[in-house]
Every structure is written in C-alpha cells, then in structure tokens.
Symmetry: C2
Subunit: 128 residues, 2 copies
C-alpha cells in the first residue's frame, strides 16, 4: 500500500517530527485523544508553546482537532507516518547490504593498471 506524498509535504512532515516534544505528543495521543491541557501537563513548557506544537502537527495532518465547549481535543492521525515508513522502507535494500559501496566506488576511482587516464567518473544519473 503506497501512500507516497508530495516532496514538500514530506519535508514538512519530517520537520514536524524533528522535535522531541512533538514526537512525545504523538506518543501521548496514540493512547487516545486529549485536550490541550491534558497534553501539556507532562511538559515543562507553557501552554502557548504546546499550542504552537499542536498547530505544527495539525498543519501536516498528524493530528486532527474538534471542538467541544471550550475544549479543543486532539486526536492522532497517523497516515502521514505511513508515508514516512514507506519512504524509509525504500532504502531497506541499502541498509541490508551495508558494505561494498564505498569500496566499489574507490575501485572505480583508482583503476589498477587499467588504461583509464583520468578519474573522470561517469554520471549514471537517473535521478530527477
């Protein structure tokens, strides 16, 4: 099941996850939805700071919010994490074969008595 998302979106998602507080909030919410005050309680920072973190998480779709009286309960929405997992999984073959690549490259850079005059490296560039 591929849930690939736009490249910029993926950047924003990674940026949202690049913060221990925000990841801790997601952990908290995976146990069930909570209000802002409930979420803030374990953290040593002010409510506005938490509010801003929630805004970041909401912006990338990692949480959804509703309203009930004064309360603005938050629930986790993990779909973007599936995209993150999918993105990382594409490198599984790389981390499972974790050797050789540098050696192979050095072999190309430093040919033996091979008649290759310069280390002009071919650009096997199938990216973009």
């Amino acid at each position: 099941m591929s849930v690939a998302i736009d490249d910029d979106r993926l950047s924003e998602t990674f940026a949202a996850l690049a913060n221990t507080t925000r990841r801790a909030i997601l952990t908290r919410l995976s146990d069930g939805a909570a209000t802002v005050n409930e979420i803030a309680e374990p953290f040593a920072m002010t409510l506005p700071a938490i509010s801003k973190h929630l805004k970041v998480l909401e912006r990338v779709g990692l949480i959804v919010r509703s309203r009930h009286a004064q309360y603005r309960p938050c629930a986790i929405e993990a779909t973007p994490l599936e995209a993150v997992a999918d993105w990382a999984e594409q490198y599984r073959p790389v981390w499972e074969a974790r050797f050789d690549r540098m050696d192979e490259h050095l072999r190309r850079l430093r040919p033996e008595p091979d008649p290759e005059p310069e280390p002009t490296m071919e650009k096997a560039n199938n990216h973009d």
Copy 2:
C-alpha cells in the same frame, strides 16, 4: 531487527531528512557512491551549499566519506533510516485502525465540569 536510537539523535535525523535536496542526495547515493562534484551536478546551487548538506548528512551518519587524492567520495549509510522506519512502524496499529478515537474521547469528556483547580504548571528549562 530493532535499531532504536536515542531521542535527540532521532530529532537530528528527522531534521536532516526534512530537506528535499538532502533526500535527493540520498537517492543519488543509493545508486552508488559519488564525489562531491558528481553529487552537486544536478542541483541548481553552489558547491559550498552542497558541501554543507553533506556535512549534515555525515553528522547524523546517513553518509560516510573517505578520501582519495583531492576527492572526498560519499557513500550512503542507511542504518539511521532503519531506525526511522522502525520508529514510524510503531504507529502502524494507529494508521491501520482508523476508528474514531475522537468520538471516544468526546464521550469521556462529559459535560460534568469537575471544577478542580490545578495550578501546577512548573516551568523548568528543558529547551530542546
């Protein structure tokens, strides 16, 4: 195979991945190691900019570098991506069970106000 890394390290890794150029570099390197000039070639930015991106990737262990004459070839090192995949996978039950956690929470948040004054909001200095 669990490759959990510590929380700050994970933040740095996510931060390193929160940039399309750096992710494109990883894509390029998954096809094989390359020198800095080879890596820079497809990008519309100067060499120093690429050099800094490589430094970020190296710092979190996403690439390793060696030296050969003037060349500083880079190779991908995908182990941190396994940690990222593992971290995201922990939320699989959440994204697979798309039942409504919000509803359940709203049910718990019944209109009974429960007026308990809780002014406990100590602010230490846990900057992240």
